[in-house]
Amino acid sequence: MSRASRSSSTAPPPSGAINRRVFLAGASVVGGSLVLTGALPKEAEAAAVVSDAFNGLAAFVAPGNDRFSERQGVSTALPGGVANGAAAIVQDTLDAAIPVVLGESEVKLPGALAYALLLSNYAMQVSPLSLVGPFGNAFANLTWIQKREALIRLDAAPPLDNTQITYAGNALITLAALGSFSEGTAYDWRTKVLSGAPVGWQRSKYQGVSDGHADFIGYYQDRTEVSA
């Protein structure tokens, strides 16, 4: 490798995943001026605010036989998105994706907590009673129809228009869907170990990764090349 002319050598600015402190500092802005949920979650509560929000979302997208699905009133006999680890996928993705940049404010928010608070805020608009319930995020306490209403409102009137946060309005559901039907948390990319057949594969009758399939039929009208 040739590095002909070195002009300078500087340490890279800190990078990597958003840490918990920055995370909560960002939340104060969300809670205080944007999401309007009032009191800020304490650190321990914040974990439940996040994981319950995205488990509630996973149950909405791909219901299963878990308590989040049961709570929403739409459940199935088989495991669903919650069991596939969709919540962790959404959370990891959002935490790694951002900081969310809020308009011209120069405030950077960490991902998952910001969106979890957003879901909670929309949930309380649909049903103020959703604050009360078994889960640490109001969204997870809603019925399936109420969740749908909260998400419709998020779709129809994304918050903070012209900021990066609008991206999540659509991405939240799709990321939960990816997390529900991909390998989900059955695979750990750090150890490269796949533990068992993911729930999402079983539900969709997917055979899993393969080096090949016997699906070659031939060529349409036996034509293997076309004229120039």
């Binding site: 990078s15 669903g80 790694a96 419709i152 799709t174 990816l178 039907f181 539900r203 039929i217």
Partner: protein, 587 residues
């Protein structure tokens, strides 16, 4: 001082590098992402592991997956699917290589001439690009796609609505056909076995993982992997140019993100590109100088680097005019096996010149669920959003969630998807700008991608509705028991024309030779330089043909050489001389 520095090793950059390396120039290629040297070991082909936008091995970010991805500001619901790494976004791609329709080029006078993006034609005629198309097609190589179950069902539907089959390279009228694609045709046990091995199996093994990277057939040398993403085709050639021609191998440095393009004052008063500064993962910065700089960072990063380098932008068109084929997705649920998760992802298409095209798209279940839940029309069955899309004859419009998602995905191999590729207009409202200074990552201010999808031009919206309706008809004629239209928000897989070449100085960044108008010696060789959306043709072949022409221009204009396209025989990337050099050098 190098002869040429190429910034970015994706769909376009390696083409210029390979061609100029073959002419014996001293070429340095700088790629900001990783180099995947052992794909059979490195790529799990699992969907979240591969395709997660922030943590996947295919993402826009540094090699070290513990470090954050590079952020993009998306001020609307949208999603950008690109890859940083040697091969760039072709690591993801499906290898489809249609030529752009004649109507997108200058001088076209067919009866449907007014039906194209007439204000933004390519600044030369189709006949001018034709020899370069042929050169790239022979190099990759491009072949007629093999047929699997999902293609046979698509063809049944296309026949069912009365479309004729096209047996030529160019569609002259509405028609359907197998794709012309850059995926080696199956030979031996490929496509016939669950556990194929090279050399018994050659070409496409029908594994179904185009989106997660092509490392098949297992055991094949890198340049004989089935899919001709540039890591398997042009990159092995550029690195072995001495072996298959009398050239000089290009040098490739991965994990080298270019943060600035330098200029010096030029003789004509126009600044002249003089070199670049790039950063390595250890944080060190390095400067290299060259006679010619080629920008090929892709349609998002090229304008970003331009702006972060504070290069001149006299007419304001750097970053503007983004086209993305305003993609949409229509799928049918069948009572029969469709082979949705098997085979090359997309081997069938229908073309509607002046409107765009349709192609099938096979997916494993995670991405299938992703595709079925991404919509600008809200949740299916609930009240509508302000999207201008209609059901276009489908049973549902909008996101499929809850029990409906479970029902439709009961068997991933009973679904047939059709991707709508809209011939969309260049519009100055859509583009890549910089977020306000200070909001950046290590490589400078973050790019902001604005796509006003609900306010696309009347022609763009018309085309998309027309094509969605055709997709619905094909699925019904093929026997789908239910058909669903998604109305995707911008799902940016095909990204073009943000540094467009053009006839007019008023609305283009590059001239007809892909040289920047504002900076001498700076050429553009990725999708960003396309003049328009290439009539909804999947863009890479056109970019590679233009890049070949650009390489020839650089050689003749700046290095006193002779042209070669149309005069010499192209060497194919699977030529034995390339293979032997790849094996001998452990590439």
């Amino acid at each position: 001082m190098r002869d040429v520095i190429v910034i970015g090793c994706g769909g376009g950059g390696p083409v210029v590098a390979k061609e100029l390396a073959a002419r014996g120039l001293d070429v340095l290629v700088l790629e900001g992402g990783p180099r995947f040297a052992n794909p059979e070991q490195e790529w799990s082909r699992l969907e979240n592991d591969a395709n997660n936008p922030t943590t996947g091995y295919y993402r826009v970010g540094p090699s070290d997956r513990e470090r954050s991805a590079y952020p993009r500001a998306l001020p609307q619901d949208s999603y950008v699917w690109q890859v940083a790494g040697v091969g760039g976004t072709t690591l993801h791609y499906y290898g489809n290589c249609p030529r752009a329709p004649r109507g997108v080029f200058d001088g076209y006078a067919g009866s449907d001439a007014a039906n194209y993006d007439v204000d933004h034609r390519f600044p030369f005629a189709y006949e001018e690009l034709l020899p370069y198309y042929e050169w790239v097609e022979a190099t990759l190589p491009v072949q007629t796609a093999a047929m699997g179950t999902k293609e046979s069902i698509f063809f049944r539907g296309a026949e069912g609505i009365g479309l004729p089959v096209n047996t030529a390279k160019q569609p002259e009228a509405p028609s359907f056909r197998p794709q012309e694609n850059a995926i080696l045709q199956p030979q031996g046990t490929a496509g016939k076995a669950e556990d194929p091995r090279f050399p018994d199996a050659q070409g496409c093994t029908f594994c179904g993982h185009c989106f997660q990277g092509c490392s098949m057939p297992r055991g094949a040398p890198r340049n004989l992997k089935a899919k001709r993403s540039t890591d398997n085709s042009y990159v092995p050639m550029m690195l072995t140019a001495d072996a298959w021609t009398g050239g000089r191998p290009a040098e490739l440095i991965a994990d080298a993100f270019v943060q600035k393009i330098h200029t010096a004052s030029g003789s004509t008063g126009v600044p002249r590109a003089s070199g670049v500064t790039y950063e390595l993962p250890d944080g060190t910065k390095h400067r290299e100088d060259a006679r010619i700089v080629v920008l090929a960072g892709g349609a998002v990063e090229s304008p970003r680097l331009w702006r972060n380098s504070e290069l001149p932008n006299p007419n304001g068109w750097v970053g503007r005019g983004f086209t993305d084929h305003h993609l949409d997705w229509v799928f049918g649920v069948f009572d029969e096996d469709t082979g949705n998760s098997k085979g090359a992802s997309s081997s069938a298409r229908a073309d509607f010149p002046g409107y765009g095209g349709l192609e099938n798209g096979g997916l494993p279940p995670g991405l299938q669920a992703f595709a079925q839940t991404f919509s600008d029309s809200g949740i299916s069955g609930a009240r509508r959003t302000a999207s201008p899309a209609t059901p276009a004859g489908a049973d549902t419009l909008g996101r499929i969630v809850g029990r409906e998602l479970l029902d439709s995905l009961q068997d991933v191999n009973r679904i047939l998807n059709i991707l709508v590729l809209t011939d969309d207009d260049v519009e100055s409202q859509n583009g890549v700008s910089l977020l306000q200074p200070g909001l950046g990552d290590t490589n400078g201010t973050i790019p902001k991608i604005t796509m006003r999808h609900r306010r696309r031009s009347a022609r763009t919206l018309r085309n998309r509705e027309f094509l969605a309706a055709k997709a619905v008809q094909i699925l019904r004629a093929a026997g789908a028991k239910s058909v669903h239209r998604m109305d995707w928000p911008p799902l940016i897989l095909h990204s073009q024309s943000t540094m467009r070449m053009g006839l007019s100085e008023a609305d283009s960044v590059a001239d007809a030779w892909a040289q920047s108008r504002a900076v001498a010696g700076l050429y553009i060789a990725d999708n960003s330089v396309l003049a328009n959306s290439a009539g909804a043709a999947n863009p890479t072949l056109t970019t590679q043909a233009v890049a070949t022409r650009t390489a020839e221009r650089i050689f003749t204009e700046h290095f006193g050489g002779d042209p070669w396209v149309g005069r010499e025989e192209p060497v194919c990337s699977i030529d034995d001389r390339v293979t032997e050099a790849v094996i001998a050098r452990g590439l």
